[in-house]
């Protein structure tokens, strides 16, 4: 968070190296890994949406599956019912995510901290039943299968992989750019000193609505990517637990917004259930322990470093 401008510039160069490696991966690893990595990119965008809310709004959401579901179903429904490809459905998903983010931010504009967190929890709970009960359009439990290619003629597995990567890189770059913008700076001030931001012309309600709108939009892009890269859209991907896992991903990446950080969070959200799929009961235990571990690490690490530094200084 406390990056200076040069550091930001340096990190944007540094993040091209992982991008180059990721771009080369499909030629090295097998098809199943390509698929998993595509999901991993999509989930990274979701983690980024949650972290964005924390970094720019100072608020925690446990309901971002609402936005991911929105984006995923926008793509899924347009694809399966109308045969519309991503070129049109992704902008629509973004628009829907931003609008509903704003629509949610308005009634909750005066809520902060745990009050907002509890409200987002209610949002997450409402998602699965909305999907199941709107089955005439969402396909209910069965879900939807996204199969319209983005670029005709290119192998579908590669398309799913590279679209995920491209979306992630684009979103991460846009968010990195936002940090330097006028709006980004005023939001950061509004987070730490709302009264000061007010005194310089940024209303608190505006700040909240802007942050929720952006975060909702990023969430919807995550969903759109999930739908295409993961090929199916079904209620199982947008449960209450999935919403918590996105938060866990955000916490384990220390709410980072850089490409590498969100990739760590996204990989966590994607890979842990896959690696532990044989013993499903261990998944929540593992997630819970990681969440606690990272929080306690964040709490004790500065202290441990200080003690170590003091010892070194003494010796």
């Amino acid at each position: 968070m406390t990056q200076r401008l040069q550091d930001i510039a340096a990190s944007s160069i540094a993040s091209w190296i992982p991008v180059a490696i990721l771009a080369a991966l499909p030629f090295i690893v097998g098809g199943s890994w390509t698929f998993t990595l595509g999901l991993c990119f999509a989930n990274s965008i979701g983690v980024l949406a949650v972290s964005f809310l924390v970094r720019y709004g100072g608020e925690v959401s446990i309901g971002h599956t609402f936005f991911t579901a929105l984006g995923a179903y926008a793509v899924g429904v347009l694809d399966t019912r109308f045969g519309v490809s991503l070129w049109a459905s992704v902008p629509l998903a973004l628009l829907l995510g931003v609008s509903l983010g704003i629509a949610f931010a308005w009634p909750s504009r005066n809520l902060h901290g745990i009050y907002l967190a509890v409200t987002t929890l209610a949002l997450a709970l409402a998602v699965p039943e909305m999907i199941n009960n709107l089955d005439w359009i969402t396909g209910g439990y069965e879900g939807l299968y996204v199969s319209t290619p983005l670029v005709p003629g290119v192998e579908m597995g590669l398309q799913r992989y590279y679209l995920g990567l491209a979306m992630l890189v684009a979103v991460a770059a846009a968010v990195a750019r936002f940090r330097l913008s006028r709006q980004g700076m005023t939001l950061l001030l509004a987070k730490t000193h709302p009264a000061a931001a007010d005194a310089f012309g940024t209303r608190r309600v505006w700040a909240r609505i802007a942050v929720m709108g952006i975060s909702g939009g990023i969430g919807a892009l995550c969903g759109a990517t999930l739908a295409f890269s993961g090929s199916t859209v079904s209620p199982g991907g947008f449960t209450f637990w999935q919403a918590i896992f996105l938060l866990v991903g955000s916490v384990v990446s220390f709410y980072g917004l850089s490409l590498v950080r969100v990739l760590i969070g996204g990989a966590f959200v994607t890979l842990v259930p896959q690696l532990l799929s044989a013993s499903g009961a261990w998944i929540p235990v593992f997630y819970g322990l990681s969440l606690l571990g990272m929080i306690l690490l964040g709490h004790y690490l500065p202290r441990i470093q200080k003690t170590l530094a003091r010892r070194k200084g003494g010796a």
Binding site: G113, A117, V118, A126, M130, P284, L291
Partner: protein, 299 residues
């Protein structure tokens, strides 16, 4: 059917049974509010830990783990709940004094662990937990009143009454109130924050076990039953103002009745969406009851 018949046969029974479940939501909400009032932490592990203890009662009395008598199983489960509350508080207490939001996220971690442990010990199947609840029923003015209803009412009244007596008259209860009003002043006066926090966590755990055990007869016991039940408790706490104990009682009964009416008259499929609507509406209509910050601007 006339209007009055509808009222008699649908509305009154719906309100009555809504009030009964509402009492249980209130028990859950009281636990959440007690912890929140003194430490500003929302305990997201409440439902899953209470669910785990309900499963423990099942496991200890049915022969899955042990074959204890029903009473002994409940006592062991209560002790476990208290021990878990101690453990959770011990781990997060350094965080509580740093950031209420971080410690709230940490409780999500404990919730995940409790859920995982329940799955590991008892699996994902639905089990039937039989409690020795008197099975009788009689009708008052056409209203069917069951032994279960009266048991829930009696337990809720006794538990909540005992809780309010403890808070009003015991030393710990008075310290709890003082710290909820002003933690800094209370600590300066020599009150121990940690012991009061522990008191709240332990009380909440006990209330959670009682609520979980009493909700089970209305449904089956599965890994999600109690967690789902606690979500209604969350809504009850929110409506009650989250920082008010009497408020959560009112909120619990209100949620119980409203949910019953909604599922019967409108749609049983959109109950969570309805809950979201209620929460948003309540927070906007009574922001001052819920939000202390809204009144004065901080500069």
């Amino acid at each position: 059917m006339t209007f009055w018949d509808t009222l008699l046969y649908d509305l009154f029974p719906l309100i009555w049974s809504g009030m009964i479940t509402g009492c249980l939501y209130a028990l859950g909400a009281l636990g959440l509010v007690m912890i929140f009032k003194c430490s500003k932490v929302v305990n997201f592990s409440h439902g899953n830990v209470a669910g785990l203890t309900a499963f423990l009662v099942y496991g200890l009395s049915s022969g899955v783990l042990l074959s204890l008598s029903w009473g002994a199983a409940v006592i062991v489960a209560l002790l476990c709940a208290v021990a878990i509350a101690f453990l959770i508080y011990a781990i997060i207490s350094p965080l509580v004094f740093e950031s209420d939001l971080t410690s709230t996220i940490a409780t999500l971690g404990f919730g995940l662990i409790a859920q995982g442990v329940t799955l590991l010990l008892f699996g994902a199947d639905i089990v039937a937990l039989d409690l020795p609840i008197p099975r009788f029923a009689f009708s008052v003015f056409g209203l069917l009143v069951t032994g279960y209803d009266l048991t829930v009412l009696a337990v809720a009244v006794v538990t909540i009454g005992a809780l309010f007596i403890v808070i009003d008259y015991t030393k710990l209860g008075i310290a709890f109130r003082a710290i909820s009003e002003n933690p800094f002043a209370a600590e300066v006066c020599g009150l121990n924050l940690r012991s009061v926090h522990l008191f709240a966590w332990v009380t909440a755990a006990i209330l959670g076990v009682i609520g979980a055990l009493l909700i089970v007869p209305t449904t089956f016991l599965s890994v999600t039953t109690v967690a789902t039940f606690m979500l209604q408790a969350f809504a009850a706490a929110v409506i009650g103002g989250f920082a008010s104990l009497p408020g959560s009682l009112v909120g619990g009964i209100l949620i119980g009745v409203l949910m019953n009416l909604f599922t019967f008259y409108v749609s049983p499929e959109f109950s969570s969406t309805f809950l979201l609507g209620i929460i948003l509406l309540a927070l906007n209509i009574f922001p001052n009851g819920v939000l202390q910050r809204v009144g004065g601007s901080r500069v």
